[in-house]
Amino acid sequence: MPAISRTDVAHLARLARISMTDAELDAMAGQLDVILGAVSRVGEVAANDIPPTSHAVPLTNVLRPDDPVPSLGAAAALAAAPAAEDGRFRVPRILDEE
């Protein structure tokens, strides 16, 4: 059984608001399954005395200067949103906390 199904990929694509064709879904599901399979092999060799790593590249302190870069602009930012109102992202009612 594959680690990731075509339905999973379709669901993820929807969450990420990326439209994918049926052919793309088929291809991506297969490729992601191969990648996940390869990654899971790491778990087989990692013994308890090997500290977990969070990054594959042996680098530290990758930093940028505090210089501003132009932003997207509200219109472009909101264009990708499923719904917008008054220059803001419109989202469904948030679960009542009170």
């Binding site: 990054h55 930093l63 501003p68 932003s71 909101l78 990708a80 109102e85 008054d86 803001r88 906390e97």
Partner: protein, 499 residues
């Protein structure tokens, strides 16, 4: 033993020990966000300062702002913390639309700074507040709840989100439980946030504007009966956004929790909301079951390993602590340590300093701010720094008092008129025609008072100088406070043959 009427708060703290915890969030004053180059400027059009990274769009990758790291190290060093030689960011997973990525990039078990302290002084007594950790994270967006009453989440039909704030660097400063504050729990909490704000401002790492939310405070509080060893159940009051409110929130929770405990009820571990208008708290989300944020190290960022030379260079560049600066200020102006505590904790020390710089005497400057305007600010429910009267006005009023143009009473009337927004000092004096009574007017008033109080006048004539007080009082009353009391006394004594 004399019976003293104590407030409910004082009564509770006779019987219970309060245990405080403070979590302070500070928005750093960097030009750009923590992981992208978007501007952090306050007050821009909604969603005009966003990009694929801070919107969490697929394929975007964060790159850490080096200045935000420097600022965080600065804060850690100023709070006497150890700076980690290696640490990582972590993902804090939660589902709420204020974070478009569905996780907040924060720090978890590897904070940048740990184990520091901050000493605060209340009425000459010093309390050491231990700092558990200082870590760096990104701020969230701002939600607007539509359809319910006054923007509240309750009853809203939907919400609107502005992500301009999402990704602004936020430093969280967490204290260890603070104990042993006795009756001064609320004052210590306020003094801690005040001192922290002053340090952050001196470091130049944040504009620390509580009213704009760049400094926000969560107040944890629990009570334990005197002599108990086990900590009580605590509540966490969120978003306490002014110095006054910090003090009020502690007072309110002390009284509320004690009422429950006294009635044999238990405290619910929960988040509570603070209400600025009433100074009270109301329940929010119950924390009975701790939320699982499924923290894990952030795979999109490489670890941080601040080199020792960088940390030492930052340490060498730290400005002198506010406590040292205040001690020098005290020496230069003849203030005592208690004067300085009172001015600091009332939030007027900078105002007093500016007033002295403007030419007022230290005694006058302190007297006006601490002795009058702080009280007026409390009555008006405003921060003393936000009053319509500032150092320039106080300097002018003091000068008019000094040259005899205003009596003490008139001076306060002038201050009140300026506070009421009637205009500048000279403007309100002209408008009301306030001036000290002239010599002729004064003599006329004295003659009338002596005639009306023949018995008292005779006593003075007979050498009973203590009897002159009521006569001066009557003259002040007759002139509506516009007389110079000292001059009135001289003239009365002269008239009654006692000069």
């Amino acid at each position: 033993m004399t019976t003293v009427t104590t407030s409910r708060y004082d009564d509770v703290l006779e019987r219970y020990d309060a245990v405080l915890g403070l979590e302070t969030h500070v928005e750093l004053g960097t030009v750009t966000k923590l992981f992208c180059g978007c501007s952090t400027a306050f007050g821009a059009e909604p969603n005009s300062q966003v990009c694929p990274t801070c919107l969490g769009l697929p394929g975007s990758l964060p790159v850490t702002n080096g200045t935000a790291i420097d600022y965080s190290i600065k804060i850690g060093l100023a709070l006497h913390c150890d700076i980690a030689d290696w640490c990582r960011f972590a993902r804090k997973n939660y589902f709420y639309p204020d974070m478009p990525k569905d996780y907040q990039t924060s720090q978890y078990d590897e904070p940048l700074c740990t184990d520091g302290y901050l000493d605060v002084t209340v009425d000459g007594e010093t309390f050491r507040v231990e700092i558990e950790r200082v870590h760096l994270e990104e701020d969230t967006g701002k939600s607007l709840h539509v359809g319910g009453a006054t923007g509240r989440i309750h009853g809203a039909t939907h919400s609107l989100v502005d992500y301009n704030r999402a990704g602004i660097p936020l430093v969280e400063i967490v204290t260890r439980p603070v104990r042993g504050t006795g009756h001064k729990a609320a004052e210590v909490a306020r003094a801690y946030v005040t001192e922290l704000r002053d340090i952050l401002r001196d470091l130049g790492v944040s504009d620390v504007r509580m009213e704009q939310g760049s400094l926000r405070c969560d107040v944890n509080l629990s009570l334990m009966p005197k002599g108990a060893t086990e900590l009580g159940t605590r509540t966490e009051t969120k978003n306490v956004n002014s110095l006054r409110s910090v003090e009020q929130a502690v007072r309110h929770e002390v009284e509320r929790q004690a009422a429950l405990l006294d009635a044999g009820e238990r405290i619910v571990q929960e988040t509570r909301h603070f209400h600025e208008d009433t100074g009270t708290t109301s329940p929010g989300r119950s924390k009975e079951e701790a939320q699982d944020y499924r923290y894990f190290p952030e795979p999109d960022l490489v670890p941080l390993a601040p080199p020792a030379e960088q940390v030492e260079a930052i340490r060498a560049s730290l400005p002198e602590p506010p406590s040292v600066r205040r001690a020098r200020f005290a020496g230069a102006n003849g203030f005592t340590a208690v004067d300085i505590d009172q001015m600091t904790n009332a939030g007027v020390i900078d105002l007093v300093a500016s007033t002295i710089d403007g030419g007022a005497s230290p005694t006058k400057a302190k007297g006006w701010w601490l002795g009058y305007l702080v009280g007026r600010a409390n009555e008006l429910g405003e921060e003393v720094t936000e009053l319509a009267i500032g150092p320039a006005e106080v300097v002018r009023i003091s000068a008019l008092e000094d040259d005899g143009s205003l009596t003490n009473k008139l001076a306060r009337q002038v201050a009140d008129a300026v506070l009421a927004g009637e205009g500048g000092v000279d403007e309100v004096i002209d408008a009301h025609g306030w001036k000290v009574a002239g010599e002729d007017e004064l003599i006329a008033a004295i003659d009338a008072v002596i005639a009306d109080n023949a018995d008292t006048a005779d006593k003075v004539r007979g050498g009973n100088l203590g009897a002159v007080g009521p006569l001066v009082g009557a003259v002040m009353k007759a002139t509506g406070g516009a007389a110079d009391a000292k001059r009135a006394r001289e003239l009365i004594l002269e008239k009654l043959g006692q000069s």
